[in-house]
């Protein structure tokens, strides 16, 4: 190893008193635990381990015997230390691990710019019909598209909170009426549906319709 081990300040070394009770005896061990060093070891282990580390595993990292409350105190101190950083110490079922903060994920995504996913033509056309012809039933949509509308398409749009059922039509089967939501307007940055592009100039439309194909 080329780098020397830095001595850690003695001032922060504490003495951990530990009482280990077994069935037959009580062992009292006084061991000096270098807390500063141990904290650095914990950090290094938590940062480099592929899997979460259990308290048992963390105990093994110490030369001196340490008990669970002691380990948990150390973990709390580490968690506190990283409170305002880009990562956080997390307790999961199998132990403790660091993770990047979920709210930063959107920024980290910039590193691996995946092509943004696109909705299928069926989804887009269904959404367009609901937006321009609301309220409409599934039957209406099928009439206009000329094909069946799969339940998955409507589910996709409902899951996105872009459409919702606002009633039923009083015809046999009581079909549900779909309409668009405020969420859609927000996501499209529109104040009202009337701000959707008008479709009055038919000449342009035909040209555009050819251009907008898949």
């Amino acid at each position: 190893m080329s780098e020397p081990v830095e001595p850690s300040p003695l001032s922060e070394a504490v003495v951990a008193k530990q009482h280990v009770a077994t069935a037959t005896q009580v062992v009292v061990s006084d061991q000096s635990v270098d807390v500063v060093l141990l904290k650095r070891i914990f950090e290094a282990a938590l940062f480099s381990s592929q899997e979460p580390l259990s308290v048992t595993e963390l105990k093994r990292l110490s030369d001196a015997e340490i008990d669970t409350p002691f380990v948990e105190k150390m973990l709390a101190q580490i968690a506190e230390k990283y409170a305002d950083s880009g990562v956080e110490l997390n307790r999961v079922a199998s132990g403790w691990r660091f993770r990047s903060r979920p709210e930063l994920q959107v920024h980290l995504d910039k590193l691996n710019p995946q092509k943004p996913p696109r909705y299928s033509r069926a989804v887009m056309e269904t959404l367009a019909i609901i937006a321009y012809r609301q309220p409409v039933t599934r039957g209406d949509i099928e009439d206009i598209r000329g094909v069946n509308v799969s339940p998955q398409v409507l589910k996709t749009l409902e899951a996105r909170s872009w459409i919702e059922v606002i009633g039923t039509r009083d015809t046999p089967g009581k079909p549900e009426l779909f309409a668009t939501t405020q969420q859609l307007l927000d996501d499209l940055n529109l104040r009202s549906l009337s701000e959707l592009p008008a479709l009055s100039e038919m000449g342009n439309l035909l040209d555009q319709s050819n251009a907008g194909g898949n």
Partner: protein, 274 residues
């Protein structure tokens, strides 16, 4: 080469015979001698150059003025040990034996008179010296390289989980895409020829949705409550048209139980539920 071979045979009793005796390495297993400490030592040599360097360093020989007789003798001793112990002896070791003997014999020959050609007067050991030094340089470099802290051996790389629970990426939709989707439909349905979509019609459609939404959570509402007090006059008109349109599409029912009494609006669903 033939001349040299003849000269080689004189001082050599054992190894030359073994140079061409390679098949002996395939002796049957029952002649195998159990490994001992010597085998361990011998098997750590990386090859003839490594063995020669070891001998030179061990016996404090001068690399720049190698006493060939001594070195060759030492080397042959090890080769013999290896062969006696059935160590798998790479052909390179035997080749090196030949080289050493060749150099030794050339050094025994009187130096040819200078002909002006520098190379011909070169020390016969020069090439071996160069190889030994170059190999030793790389051997030391390999040692130093191995001393460098190595990822996974002397330090760990940091592996922090990226929280993947929030990464489900949803497609974005632009107004243009929505418009294009609608245009595709219009083109396909060939309704573009006689169907004119007016801008205000959308407002009516939007208002129809709003009214239905208000009715969704109540059995019935009063007619007036469907109109926002602070709405503009055009908006009031649009709302009124929307209500009429809903009634026309039999989506709502408008009732008035007595003249000049309250007008109530309810969805047809509410009616059916009664």
């Amino acid at each position: 080469m033939a001349e040299q071979d003849q000269q080689l045979q004189l001082p050599i009793t054992m190894p030359v015979a073994h140079v061409h005796g390679l098949p002996m390495m395939e002796m049957p297993q029952d002649l195998y001698i159990p490994p001992d400490a010597l085998e361990v030592v011998l098997s750590t040599f990386q090859g003839p150059l490594d063995l020669l360097l070891y001998l030179i360093r061990k016996h404090n020989l001068d690399v720049l003025d190698i006493p060939m007789a001594q070195l060759t003798q030492q080397y042959m001793g090890y080769i013999e040990l290896m062969q006696n112990n059935r160590l798998e002896l790479a052909a390179e070791y035997l080749l090196m034996a030949a080289v050493l003997i060749e150099i030794k014999s050339r050094m025994l020959l009187p130096r040819p008179p200078k002909v002006g050609d520098e190379e011909s007067t070169e020390d016969p050991r020069a090439e071996l010296m160069r190889k030994l030094l170059e190999y030793e340089q790389m051997k030391l470099a390999a040692h130093q390289l191995n001393e460098l802290p190595q990822a996974g051996r002397d330090f760990e790389l940091v592996q922090v989980l990226i929280e993947r629970t929030v990464v489900e990426r949803l497609p974005n939709v632009s107004v243009e895409e929505l418009r294009n989707a609608w245009l595709m439909l219009l083109a396909r349905a060939k309704v573009n020829a006689n169907h004119k979509v007016r801008r205000d019609e959308l407002s009516v459609r939007e208002q129809m949705t709003k009214v239905l939404r208000q009715l969704r959570d109540a059995d019935y509402v009063t007619f007036e409550s469907l109109f926002e007090h602070e709405a503009s006059i055009p908006m009031l008109v649009v709302t009124f048209i929307a209500i009429l349109e809903l009634a026309k599409e039999t989506l709502i029912e408008i009732t008035q139980t007595e003249a000049l009494g309250n007008i109530y609006v309810r969805t047809c669903r509410a009616i059916t539920l009664e």
